[in-house]
């Protein structure tokens, strides 16, 4: 029992990491119908910016906020400069462009900051909590809790932004029906750029929350993004809440499979998680919470 709860807790912590990146992926997909393969690398890059500022002596939250600002501008600029020229190209051409972006971010980060992994501070206390649950004691890492909290907070902010602000409304409208939105005077192009900006912000938060656990290096997000894809696919690419939940599910299920299914063990736990996702897709082809609206891909 103790092992079970501990595995669930650690799965939730890992799942929180997947969830935060999945959230960023879903944001861009919702706003622009593009799957941004560079999402993780953009987040990694923003995290390095934060690291540089921290290194220069800025206080944590100052650097944190400044990084969000940087990420936002970066996201908008990337959309306007890199994505916009291929807006009307076939979808796979856009995918290739985001792949180009991915390798550029990764390579340039390695060039600027080297590949030596760097410790990245957590804003949360380092002492873990111990909680008695039933039979034994379960330990919660303070950073893990904080990070899950931040992910849920970001999800809440996204929800509030889209639900209750005129700008959020305009972005939703632009994503849903660009033609009607134009007729209502919404500058759809800028809404797409804004979508990239916000996704970059969400990604940057994810990066800064992930880095303390994984330590900062240019390949920080490689593995995470793959899991984030899995999470977003599972939850449905059209549902931010679904993506977050998908992240937690992937994290927990993977741990439990690795722990309890002995012939699979740790060697195939990821494979099993992937197989599960495919099975889910077969039953529900647009993910657990995705809408069935046929999207352009």
């Amino acid at each position: 029992m103790e092992i079970f709860t501990q595995q669930v807790v650690s799965g939730l912590a890992t799942g929180g990491i997947y969830a935060s990146v999945a959230l960023a992926l879903v944001m861009i997909y919702q706003a622009t119908d593009v799957v941004n393969f560079a999402q993780g690398e953009m987040a990694m890059f923003a995290t390095y910016i934060c690291w540089s500022m921290l290194n220069a002596g800025l206080p944590y939250w100052g650097a944190f906020l400044a990084t969000l600002g940087f990420a936002f501008i970066g996201g908008v600029v990337i959309e306007r400069v890199v994505i916009r020229p291929v807006e009307n190209a076939p979808i796979l051409s856009i995918v290739i462009v985001t792949l180009g972006l991915l390798v550029i971010c990764n390579s340039v980060a390695g060039w600027i900051w080297t590949y030596v992994q760097k410790p990245f501070p957590s804003p949360f206390p380092s002492k873990p909590f111990k909680v008695s649950l039933g039979a034994g004691e379960t330990i919660f890492g303070a950073h893990d809790i904080g990070q899950i909290g931040i992910t849920l907070f970001v999800l809440l902010c996204i929800y509030l932004f889209f639900r209750f602000t005129p700008l959020g409304l305009a972005m939703r409208a632009a994503a849903q029906n660009p033609v009607s939105s134009r007729l209502c005077g919404i500058r759809v192009g800028w809404m797409l750029a804004l979508g990239w900006g916000l996704a970059a912000v969400v990604g940057a938060v994810a990066g800064m929350m992930v880095a303390p656990s994984l330590t900062l290096e240019p390949n920080l997000m490689g593995g995470v993004q793959i899991y984030a894809f899995a999470a977003a696919t599972l939850g449905g690419f059209t549902s931010p809440g679904g993506a977050v939940l998908g992240g937690f599910i992937v994290g927990v299920v993977e741990n439990l499979v690795g722990t309890y299914v002995s012939f699979i063990g740790t060697e195939l736990k990821f494979t099993v998680a992937l197989a599960m996702i495919i099975v889910v897709l077969l039953v529900k082809p647009s993910g657990l919470f995705g809408s069935t609206v046929v999207k352009r891909v």
């Binding site: 103790e2 092992i3 501990q6 595995q7 650690s10 799965g11 912590a13 890992t14 990491i17 997947y18 390798v103 390579s107 390695g110 080297t114 590949y115 030596v116 992994q117 760097k118 410790p119 380092s126 873990p128 111990k130 330990i139 890492g141 992930v210 656990s213 994984l214 330590t215 290096e217 240019p218 390949n219 490689g222 593995g223 995470v224 793959i226 899991y227 993977e254 741990n255 690795g258 722990t259 063990g265 740790t266 060697e267 990821f270």
Partner: protein, 405 residues
């Protein structure tokens, strides 16, 4: 040209093994009166790009050598290509080096799968394949692969060192192991299990693997703790070593923790993991830890720092890989000097297999490079050390794998 060479190869092939040296014409490739060409592949991109710096620091060292007049009046022309840690690409790049660039020899190609892919090829082509950057055992097989030579102590040996220590000091321990699911992890694992011998079955209570692409290993640590293991053998690269140390500390698991040499860096592993959490870790060292304060006044270390500042200022001073590359570059320069004016491929491998008690500035005091025609493993000594919260404190005697065989 190629036809004559083919003929030559054909003749050689039928010759008796013992007669080969006598019959063979000396092959001199990649060497002129003013230059010697050396080839290298490194993962400047892809999953192992963290090691790319080794290729760069070697280049920086050769620049230093050239600035100082070269070797026997010959400048080193160092050609290094990116293979992205992909075996097919390594094959392509090494063939380019050998066939197109016509390098004298290939050196410090990095990675086990990548080197495995070219192993046969370089030996068929009789190109010296020196000081490869991997800890697998198969590079020390002069009988079947006379042109290949390793460099660092191999992972299996290191695994045996820990096993010996466990058997001696914790004979009743329950052992838990975390290893990366690839050749590197499995080599360590094999050495360790072999070292435990019969006791392995009884002692090892849980083995957990992880993929290099996994974001975290928390789950594995939880399982290891739960297995009741009192000894933890941690075979992970720095990124995961940090997590493992941190996580086991956080969940209150306090085993005797053996950390593989790959992740023994103070700056990149122990500090991020927390010095307190790292106290008591045991590892086996053969190099001076470049971030360990105890070497601050060491001549070899200071030389390295001066070199780094002058020739590779963008390189990180807290990256052990830069120390590693420096060491190996010095060793190859030493080998070439030892070749004198005969820079035929045959002589290069002959000299490389004839290194006696060579000291390298960043090897631990007492550890020396020794090779022979039957021993293609240059460094075979290691020293156990325990982390006291500030630095690695060596203890016990020098372990010498070669002597023990």
């Amino acid at each position: 040209m190629t036809r004559t060479r083919k003929l030559l190869i054909a003749v050689l092939a039928v010759g008796l093994a013992g007669l080969i040296p006598a019959l063979a014409a000396q092959t001199v490739v990649g060497v002129t009166a003013t230059e010697i060409k050396i080839g290298n592949t490194n993962p400047y991109s892809g999953p192992a790009s963290a090691y790319g710096t080794i290729g760069k620091v070697i280049g920086a060292y050769f620049k230093k050598v050239n600035d100082e007049g070269g070797i026997n009046g010959r400048k080193i022309n160092y050609i290094t290509y990116d293979d992205g840690y992909s075996p097919p690409k390594t094959v392509e790049m090494v063939r380019k080096l050998v066939e197109q660039d016509q390098v004298a020899f290939v050196f410090q190609t990095l990675g086990t799968p990548t080197n495995s892919a070219i192993h046969k090829y370089v030996n068929q082509e009789k190109v010296p394949h020196l000081f490869v950057a991997t800890g697998a055992t198969k590079w020390n097989d002069p009988k079947n692969f006379p042109w290949t030579m390793g460099f660092q102590p191999n992972y299996q040996t290191e695994g045996r060192v820990y096993a010996a220590h466990v058997l001696k000091n914790h004979p009743d321990a329950k052992v838990g192991i975390l290893y990366q699911n690839d050749d590197y992890g499995k080599d360590y694992l094999k050495g360790f299990e072999d070292g435990l011998g019969e006791a392995a079955k009884k002692m090892i209570v849980l083995k957990q693997s992880h993929e290099v692409t996994d974001p975290t290993i928390d789950s594995q640590i939880v399982n290891l703790k739960n297995s009741g293991a009192t000894v933890f053998f941690n075979i992970t690269i720095p990124k995961f070593a940090v997590q493992a140390i941190k996580k086991s500390h956080d969940i209150g698991w306090k085993p005797v923790h053996y950390l593989n040499n790959v992740s023994s860096s103070l700056a990149t592993v122990l500090k991020p993991a927390g010095l307190e959490a790292s106290r008591g870790l045991i590892t086996a060292l053969y190099m001076k830890e470049v971030t360990d304060p105890q070497w601050k006044n060491d001549k070899g270390f200071q030389d390295w720092v001066a070199f780094m500042k002058k020739y590779y200022p963008e390189g990180a001073l807290d990256d052990q890989a830069n120390g590693y590359g420096y060491n190996v570059a010095i060793l190859v320069a030493h080998t070439l000097r030892q070749c004198g004016n005969d820079l035929s491929r045959e002589n290069i491998i002959r000299q490389a297999a004839n290194l006696k008690n060579v000291e390298l500035p960043l090897l631990l005091p007492g550890i020396k490079v020794n090779t022979s025609p039957t021993d293609h493993a240059p460094i075979e000594q290691e020293q156990l050390a325990r982390f006291d919260g500030e630095r690695w404190v060596t203890f016990g005697e020098l372990f010498d794998a070669f002597r023990k065989q």
